[in-house]
């Protein structure tokens, strides 16, 4: 009896290891960065997949909110979409604060989302560079860390941005603001 029980116990971890109904990494869409910009009257959500190629693998979805963009992206553009490894959320300065707050509120309910992902504002040139070269994403992340070291009051991660909004402080708080006019620059931008 103990031998059979031991064999069963050894078998269970294999069964539970996830090899059954697994998702191959080639078919999974691991999203590394999401950018939000204004185009015409609506918002454009761009999902950048994790890739080893020089040119980014990006899919743009016009939507009214992050929630709708996720649904559309998963249904029409990127099946097997995963936000578990999302590291960077970029909002163009033109995006309305109301829409940004609604997105932040929605994301907080998503179990797979990492609260330590970075959130920053940016201009149109940064988003253009982001769509052209994959290395721009890692460059932005490096710059964001430098920015935080130089200016500790800047709210860099999603968690602190969410808390700053939730506390409804009468004063505005600082977030990272990225501009790209030839070379990339990061400064502290005010979030009202």
């Amino acid at each position: 009896m103990p031998k059979k029980l031991t064999a069963l116990l050894l078998l269970l971890p294999i069964v539970l290891s996830g090899c059954i109904a697994s998702r191959q990494i080639e078919s999974a869409a691991v999203i590394e960065t999401v950018s939000v910009s204004r185009q015409g009257g609506s918002q454009l959500y761009t999902f950048f997949r994790l890739t080893d190629s020089d040119s980014p693998d990006a899919v743009s979805v016009p939507a009214e909110s992050f929630e709708q963009a996720l649904q559309l992206a998963a249904a029409q553009y990127i099946p097997n979409l995963s936000l578990a490894k999302l590291e960077l959320l970029l909002y163009q300065t033109d995006v309305e604060r109301k829409a940004l707050r609604a997105d932040i509120d929605y994301i907080s309910t998503q179990a797979s989302f990492s609260p330590v992902a970075c959130l920053a504002l940016c201009d149109e040139n940064v988003l253009r560079r982001l769509r052209q070269k994959t290395e721009t994403q890692s460059l932005i992340k490096q710059q964001l860390i430098l920015c935080k070291n130089q200016n500790p009051t800047v709210q860099l991660d999603y968690l602190s941005v969410f808390n700053s909004f939730a506390r409804q402080s009468p004063n505005s708080f600082s977030v990272a603001f990225i501009t790209s006019d030839g070379e990339m620059k990061i400064s502290a931008g005010k979030m009202e």
């Binding site: 029980l5 269970l12 990492s114 330590v116 968690l159």
Partner: protein, 349 residues
């Protein structure tokens, strides 16, 4: 059938402390948002104070007569023996479900989306049957390793979250009486360890008063630290999350090493495993079936069946995760029945 060898009372209390700490590992929206950190701290003191009161009848039985309720029940007449055994069996099976349901839910929601909760429950129960057959002594030895893992995990969780501590606006003493009472009710939940002690204290030797006090003090310290980091590191974001303590393992950050969910899941898995195994041991002890593989497996099968049904019916799920109900049953199991046996023993003496 195996006969347990007496082992150190200190080791049993360390195991019970780890079981009590598991309550906050599986915490899910049971604390009122109307109470600030300081009010919650008062609730911890109140809850664990009640827990000490729950321990008293079993401790007096142990200290004065060196026995426990199950031994006394077996010495009493057959109807009383069976009534006691059946009540405790039902109580311990209810308590095991109370932990098994939130654990399997958390595993599927937070860690392995898509996995059927029943399959996770089956895996945990299979291991628990093996451990319960081996006996309480072996489980408490396992507790020594779990204690070390708990230290490492808690250190990683708290040290990694320390960099994001924010004290602005969170330091106020704010709370209502109803919030205080609700949260105190939550912190009375660990009293189930007193009911375990009621059944297992007969196996132990060298009891001192310092042991329960140290176990409860360390449990309180763990709760206070978790509450502190949830309030000042995760902040308002924690209020939006299911399983708030789990969030601490996600925001813990050491440079490129971000998030220590695996450590957290390992600790909560082992804690639930230990609680369920101990509860199976207690259930078997009531019927004098300790070490009996078939009966232990039968009790585990009953647990699995209830878990399976609870997945289908939400009302059953809510019933088995109702803290007030558990606290009510615990009062009977840890205070009323041991006190009755204590009075009976005094009269008999």
């Amino acid at each position: 059938m195996k006969t347990e060898v007496p082992f150190s009372s200190k080791r049993l209390f360390m195991t019970l402390m780890l079981c009590a700490c598991a309550v906050i590992l599986l915490q899910n929206h049971d604390l009122s948002a109307d109470a600030s950190f300081w009010v919650n701290l008062l609730s911890v003191f109140a809850g664990l104070g009640v827990c000490f009161f729950y321990f008293l009848p079993a401790i007096i039985l142990k200290k004065k007569y060196n026995t426990d309720v199950m031994t006394l029940a077996n010495q009493a007449g057959t109807p009383l023996k069976w009534a006691t055994a059946v009540f405790y069996a039902l109580y311990f099976l209810f308590t095991a479900e109370y932990f098994l349901i939130p654990y399997t839910d958390m595993f599927c929601k937070k860690y392995y989306a898509g996995a059927p909760p029943c399959l996770i429950a089956l895996a945990v129960l299979a291991c628990c049957v093996y451990a319960a057959v081996k006996g309480v002594n072996v489980i408490t030895r396992f507790g020594i390793f779990l204690f070390v893992l708990a230290l490492v995990t808690n250190f990683l969780m708290f040290a990694g979250s320390a960099s994001s501590l924010r004290f602005e606006e969170n330091l106020a003493f704010r709370g209502t009486l109803s919030a205080f009472l609700q949260n105190s009710g939550y912190f009375i939940t660990p009293c189930f360890i007193a009911a375990i002690y009621v059944c297992l204290s007969g196996y132990t030797r060298r009891f001192t008063w310092r042991q329960p006090l140290t176990a409860l003090a360390l449990t309180g310290l763990k709760y206070a630290l978790v509450l502190f980091f949830i309030a000042f590191s995760a902040g308002e974001y924690a209020g939006r999350q299911e399983y708030e303590t789990y969030l601490l393992s996600r925001v813990a950050h050491f440079g490129s090493f971000a998030g220590i969910e695996s450590f957290y899941m390992a600790l909560s898995t082992m804690s639930v495993f230990m609680i369920t195994a101990l509860l199976l041991c207690c259930t078997c002890r009531g019927f004098q079936l300790g070490g009996n593989v078939k009966w232990t497996a039968a009790f585990a099968a009953l647990l699995f069946f209830v878990r399976f049904i609870a997945e289908k019916f939400d009302s059953l799920n809510e019933l088995f995760t109702n803290a007030a109900l558990l606290n009510g049953f615990t009062f009977v199991a840890a205070v009323v029945i041991p006190s009755a046996y204590l009075i009976g023993r005094k009269k008999h003496a």
